[in-house]
Amino acid sequence: MLSCKDATRRMSEAEDRELALSERLELGMHLAMCRGCRNYQQHLHVLREACRGYRDELTGDEPRAEADSGER
């Protein structure tokens, strides 16, 4: 059974590599029982979104709003 500490590490790795099936199952079982770690997972997702948002703000990437008027 994973500890919470191990679970946080595994959630982080899940952002960076594909977890093996057994690793996913183990993590899934832990998350099913542990609200703190489910919240941690939410926080990681917010963090990733924040990084994307901040980067796009600086680089001016506007994924859809690039209407070049005139063309076609």
Binding site: E13, Q42, T59
Partner: protein, 207 residues
């Protein structure tokens, strides 16, 4: 002081890419490069090179956003090149004093059996979407990012801002995959803790 304008002066037709625009892009690029490189002189070099390459390349830009996308694309490559060059001479270490104190702070969140201390168990963050639309949130986020130690920041930013895959990040940083995972986990934990303390729970906890 000899300052070469790094871009050709616009001629004739009304310039959509005027000096003011280039200056603003340059500021954004500098902020971007500084966040990743943590070295003002290196960041300045990277930006100058990228701007020069972009604006003397004779490309025809459909507009401002096309130009901005183009120069940032070049800047990303420059940043990774610089990190790669530096890590060849001074390999990025996963362990140092700053990293130690981050790990200790993280360890304090857990009991001896490695489960959460009740007082530190992560709580749900209310309405993160609203936070991401709040300009005050971005100031806090910037402060949290800036607070990361240099090596940790470089690895984390290559992964999350430049969106390199983990293998490319490890190679550029000259570190093993497992050290890479350690650093990324450490960075995320620190940023999570910083956002929680400085934003999501700031002023919310009733006594």
């Amino acid at each position: 002081m000899s300052y070469h304008a790094p871009y050709p002066q616009p001629t004739g037709e009304p310039a959509i890419i005027d000096n003011a625009f280039v200056e603003q892009v340059r500021r954004d690029m500098l902020a971007f490069a500084q966040l990743q490189l943590r070295d003002a002189a290196l960041a300045e070099d990277a930006v100058q090179d990228a701007l020069t390459a972009a604006l003397t390349g004779g490309q025809d830009f459909a507009g401002r956003s096309a130009l901005k996308t183009w120069v940032f694309g070049i800047l990303r490559h420059k940043i990774v090149d610089l990190i790669r060059q530096q890590s060849r001479t001074t390999p990025i270490s996963a362990f140092g004093d700053d990293e130690d104190s981050m790990d200790q702070a993280f360890d304090r969140l857990f009991k001896e059996n490695a489960h959460w201390q009740p007082a530190h168990r992560p709580a749900a963050w209310g309405d993160p979407e609203a936070s991401l639309r709040d300009k005050h949130f971005w100031a806090v986020f910037d402060a949290c990012l800036t607070h990361l130690p240099k090596n940790t920041a470089r690895v984390f930013m290559m992964r999350e801002f430049l969106e390199l895959d983990t293998g490319e990040v490890c190679t550029a940083a000259g570190i093993s995959t497992s050290n890479c995972h350690v650093i990324l986990h450490r960075a995320r934990s620190a940023l999570r803790g910083c956002l929680e303390k400085s934003w999501f729970l700031a002023g919310e906890r009733p006594c």
